[in-house]
Amino acid sequence: MSSIHNTNTLGQHFLRGQVWRGDQIPELSRATVLDTGHPELNRELPAQGWRAGQVCEIYSQSAGCGEVSLLLPALAKLSQQERWIMLIAPPAIPYAPALSMAGINTRHLLMVHPANHKEALWCIEEGLRSGQCSAVLGWLNAIDNTSVRRIQLACEEQQNYCWLWPGQNAGHKASAAPLRMNVRRHSAREAAVQFIKRRGSWPSNEFLLPLWPVQHN
């Protein structure tokens, strides 16, 4: 008796759109997907790669964890397009030889150093909305959910890629970003990655990601 009652309420929740089923996401099928360049990462991502129009938040305890390197293969592909890759408020100088070595066309990198947090958010949105950027990468000190939602909307509208590195301790708060991941360095050549949120799937367990395929020697 009670089980029938339970299924009824679950059915109602489905009807109201309060519960979504992971295997029934129509948007997955028609979205553009970008190969991450890491088989381990592809396997864990619901779309088997970076999906266009989804903001991804990356958290790490400090610099030097591989939190940016894991994007290099994807950025190398995007930089072949005649569009900008915008870097907003990078925490240090992006070292051009390293980027070139990874196969990135540095001519298409546009670095922006906003004066404050508000200006940074404006730049991110402007870059995404312009349709003239293939990807927007932003380093922020803190981020609130409203801003993330706005950024996500802009990203979805233009179907481009956006990766954000919000402050270190915001990881436990809720966020509108469809993808959120923790990155920590496990060894010299490996990062340990864990998705704390993946739209279309459950949060993942921590898995190891080899991080030194970029040298072209």
Binding site: Q61, S62, A63, G64, C65, G66, E67, V68, S69, L72, E82, R83, W84, P90, P91, A92, I93, P94, Y95, A96, P97, A98, L99, S100, M101, T106, R107, H108, L109, L110, M111, V112, H113, P114, A115, E119, W122, C123, E126, G127, S130, Q132, C133, R184, R185, S187, A188, R189, Q215, H216, N217
Partner: protein, 482 residues
Amino acid sequence: MASSAQLTAVMSSWMYLWFPDMYLHSLMTDSADTRSPCVLLSERQHVLQLTDTARTAGVQPGMSLASALLLCPELVIHTLDSTYHQQLLTQRALWACRYSAQVYPDSPQGLWLEIGSMLKLFGGLRNYWRQIEQECLRQHWPVQIATATTPLAARWLALSDTGRPTLQAKELRPLIDALKLEDLQLPHNQLLNLQRLGICTLAELRRLPLAETGRRISPDLMHQMQQLDGLRQYPMTPFQPPLTFSDSALFSHDVEHRNGLFFPLSRLLNSLSGFLHHHQLSVRWIDLSIQHRDQPQTHWQIHFARPEYRYNELIQLCRYQLERQQLPAPATALNLNVERFCPRASEQAELDNSEAGHQKQSINLLNRLYSRLTERQINNLQTTGDPRPEYAWNIATPTKHHTDSAPTRKGQWPLWLLATPVAIPEPDLSPQTVVHGPVRIDSGWWEHVQIRRDYYQLFQHQQLLWVFRDDQGCWFLHGYFS
């Protein structure tokens, strides 16, 4: 025979735009102003132009100020400044340059546009007419439009506001015949003479033999009748746009907030855009000067990353930049000046480059970024091929074409480089920590910034670091393998 040859030579297509009460309307910065009764006085203190609200109060053109004030005590009074009046007409003529290559101003408040060569471009007379009408409406310019095959016919039809979008002789003829002489702004004594003869419409005047009109009424009127039919050339001076652009808007009420400036500014930019269109030019920056009552002028310069000429872009970019400004005091007038222009041809040449598409597209984004940030905040990376980490990269301005980056030196480089190396205590150099190294970089002897360093990759505290020891044995952190 001679007259018929002349006839075909003079016949063409004309549009006349009559801006009733142009001066007064230009003083209204927003629709709220039109509600208060307002008059424009001539130098001799007579009412020249007035708003509808003043008219309903009983004020009439030609009235003295005293009687107008008796009828309507709350009247707002402006006095005519004839240079500003002239400037206003120039502003409209500049705007009209977007619609016709030949514009002829008719002082004080009319314009002729030669439209014969334009109709095909705009998709026919009706479309052309509608576009002009809508544009005037958007600018809040009251306008009376007429088209005809001779300049004078167009003018008269516009004055009496009976113009129709047609150039067909058989449709124009009844319209012209129905014109009332009192609407045509004829000299007062001429009109009086005609009225005494019982002649009120143009059809009646036409019935008189032309030579008789000239002899009995006035030779001028005879000439005008000939001009009306295209038998005689109508004297007009073509509009020559100046090559510096300067325009201003006066406010009837002080504008206290910068948002109040957008509306008048959009008008100024509109005529600027017409000007640029006519000359095939673009602008890199514009100067705004804002006048205050008791303070020196405020000057704002608005820069664009790339030459621009489109109205929509201009207004957007100005909006971004004005949002960052504060008015130091209420504004009484706004001037827009542009003295330097760039030809659009050079832009074309740049587009021929291989990166054409990218460049063209990016202009827009860069322009927007520059409107809010300074040039130093936006840059582009380049590799130089120098072995010294500090010199291995270069910052370039993204708007310029730059040559291909130098080939990169092979090696394992960190992704983040610290602008200045940070001194650290001597690290533990056990095999567990040292991932790679030492790699010696010894270079720069040809300049005075020689370096001799041993670089290590260290795995420490869950971070992969790029550190070096200099030739004095001191240790520094220089980058992160992020």
